[in-house]
Amino acid sequence: MSKLISSVSPHFYGKRTTQTIMLDVIIALLPAAVASVIIFGLRSLLVIAVCIGTCVLSEFLFQKLCKREVTAMDLSAVVTGMLLAFNLPVSIPIWQAVLGSVTAIIVVKQLFGGIGQNFANPAITARIIMMTAFSGSMTTWTMPGNGADAVSSPTPLAAAAKGLKDAMPSYQTLFLGNHGGCLGETCALAIILGGIYLVIRGVITWHTPVVYVATVALMSFICGKDVLYQVLSGGLLLGAVFMATDYATTPNTKWGKVVFGVGCGLITILIRFWGNLPEGVSFSILIMNILTPYISKLTRSKPLVGGAKK
């Protein structure tokens, strides 16, 4: 008889693994991906594919070169690639998309220790770096339906900020996403569907997205802005559902999530109404990423020690 396996309890293992979680996120992102192809044409598929491919490949190569354990197959790089692509305009030059992906994976994720260790969201940070480096192509918004001819059109928020009434799409257009903006951020419907899926699957909890959006809505209302406009545009939903819920870079506790959501909401409002940028979601999440360790510390769950021992 062969030797028996000896191991420490438990001897049952849950079915969920890192890979299945990432697969769930990918599934949740699919509606937005489909929407982006419908809205912006086939080129968006190319951008998404390039970002995913580059992310996975650079993770694989980096880990091989550094002789680290290769985890490139855990699908987390696929998620990063998709999210980065969703945050780019459809007309982005391919080489810039490649560079952005490499930055996200190597600089933001791997150099800080890889999955679970990075303090900032790779897709968001890469996007911010790209906005600084390639400000031209990063803010060229293609009007849907025009195919590859980059007809510059303002995003709804930019239009609203400048008071361009004519360029402001209707609520219905906003909800369905048929307007200028980043690839994956325009179709509110698709993102909400994805978010509901993630909550049902238990991959994320509702706290951060709901609190984030609610804060933005409330503050817009107080500031006398068009609430629905502020909520449905500027990548708020995409950020709230998919990026403000990243495990490693946001708090894990319920109250931590609430604080994180409120913080993101306030900063977003601050940037939108008083800053130079009409959007602000990326910056707010990045800033809150940096504050996450402190939030986590303050909202840490307390062990149930019970009363003092008699």
Binding site: L4, P10, H11, G14, I115, G116, Y247, A248, S301
Partner: protein, 450 residues
């Protein structure tokens, strides 16, 4: 407030199987440590002829337990064996004559009051049969009976596969209630709560029917959320009190006893037959016909499988107890112990743990820990050898229930690091204590000199 927990597969395949007695094994190996506390002292020697129920190990010291022969036959050897925790313990090996003759000296104990009740429980050799193995007479022998507001009967049986307590409730319900009667009579307890998970419909019905005839027994049906049967979890979920860290249920006015233990005590009071056999669940993916069996204590676990139709496939891992907290045994020669309530034979597929990957900081381990510990931080502190951090993280509170490891998507060995962390913390605290004592002594010396 709700305590966290996890949903585990129940796999209660054997809930409907009335226990069957296995053929008398050729020989039994009975270690002198099947309980928490001091080893029992061997009272027999090679060549002695024994009958079932004869004393072979005597309780030594305050926390210890009597041990009795489980088969009739001849002492083949008084030997030493390695226990599951790695220590060496003496054991008595008895070659069975197959007759299972009962020892003539067995008779129902004469119980009149609390003292004699506790004495009888001690003589019976019973220990916590739910798995803990704590000598029952120590638990029941409380100094101040007025402190005991309620007795909670643990019938949660939250581990997957195991159904031996379920069977006790169905097959021996009268003994469960006779046990309650005895505790009521001799200990003056006025409230009894039977805590049971809602996945045991038949057992709950039986218990409720009997409970209706009393006015101080309530059947508390709980959702099947593991680890409902953890002592602290059970106490919280039934009477909403939190046992303080390092404390006992008695600190919050309750005693917790396993349902099979209680039924056994009642049976012993009637028959005087000490704890010599166990009903246990034999199941697992390698077992052809999962069953509940009754086996003499000391039966090598490989002899159990005959009663369950043999193996379906070669077992790769064999457990004492359930899959969440059970102990993987090194070989199938290990004996059935007093507190063995199941032996699980797992095939290769079921036994192979998934690969460990890097922690993704998802926080699932924290949000599923019943005691709200942070196993991820504990691992980090352990790696840094930071005993102070381990103390602040209350690693010593961990009951090793396994929720964190089970739920972790990265399959980190969190229970393992918690265990190691506990050891590290204990050593650190001992050292600290020793250092302080030394300092105090020196101080005293200095002051004396002055």
């Amino acid at each position: 407030m709700k305590l966290h927990g996890i949903k585990v597969p129940h796999k209660k395949n054997t809930a409907g199987c009335k226990p069957v007695r296995i053929p008398v094994p050729e020989r039994v190996v009975i270690p002198m440590s099947m309980h928490i506390g001091k080893l029992a002292k061997v009272t027999v020697k090679k060549g002695d002829e024994l009958k079932v129920g004869q004393l072979i190990g005597e309780a030594d010291g305050f926390v210890s337990s009597n041990i009795h022969a489980s088969v009739s036959g001849v002492v083949e050897k008084v030997d030493e064996m390695v226990a599951s925790n790695g220590s060496k313990v003496p054991c008595v090996i008895i070659k069975s004559d197959g007759k299972q003759e009962m020892y003539e000296g067995l008779k129902a104990p004469d119980v009149k009051d609390f003292q004699s009740f506790v004495q009888a429980v001690k003589e019976s050799g019973v220990v916590g049969l739910g798995g803990a193995g704590f000598p029952s007479f120590v638990k029941l022998g409380v100094k101040d009976l007025s402190k005991v507001e309620a007795v909670i009967i643990n019938a949660a049986e939250c581990e997957p596969y195991i159904t031996s307590d379920t069977r006790t409730m169905i097959d021996k319900s009268d003994f469960v209630f006779k046990g309650i009667d005895a505790v009521r009579k001799f200990m003056g307890v006025k409230r009894f709560i039977i805590g049971v998970e809602n996945n045991k419909r038949e057992a709950i019905e039986v218990m409720q029917k009997s409970a209706e005839k009393t006015d101080d027994v309530e059947v508390h049906v709980m959702p099947s959320i593991y680890p409902q049967g953890g002592e602290k979890v059970l106490v919280y979920n039934t009477v909403k009190r939190i046992i303080p860290k390092g404390g006992l249920p008695l600190d919050v006015g309750v005693i917790v006893t396993n349902v099979t233990t209680l039924a056994f005590i009642a049976e012993y009071l009637e028959t005087g037959v000490p704890l010599v056999e166990k009903c246990l669940t034999v199941d697992g993916s390698a077992v052809k016909e999962p069953k509940n069996v009754i086996a003499p204590i000391g039966t090598p676990i490989k002899d159990l499988i005959e009663g369950a139709g043999g193996f379906k496939s070669e077992p790769a891992k064999v457990l004492y107890g359930g899959p969440m907290m059970g102990i993987a045994v090194p070989s199938m020669d290990e004996p059935v112990l007093k507190n063995t309530n199941a032996v699980i034979f797992m095939d290769e597929k079921e036994a192979t743990p998934p690969k460990t990957t890097p922690c993704i900081s998802c926080g699932a381990c924290v949000s599923h820990c019943p005691f709200r510990l942070d196993p991820r931080e504990i691992s980090r502190a352990y790696k840094l050898k930071d005993a102070e951090a381990l103390e602040a993280l209350c690693v010593d509170l961990c009951m090793e229930c396994g929720c964190c490891s089970y739920i972790c998507p990265a399959n980190r060995p969190l229970v393992q690091t918690n265990k190691l962390g506990k050891v590290m913390l204990r050593e650190y605290l001992n050292e600290k204590k020793a250092r302080q004592e030394k300092e105090n002594k020196e101080k005293e010396k200095k002051e004396a000199k002055k």
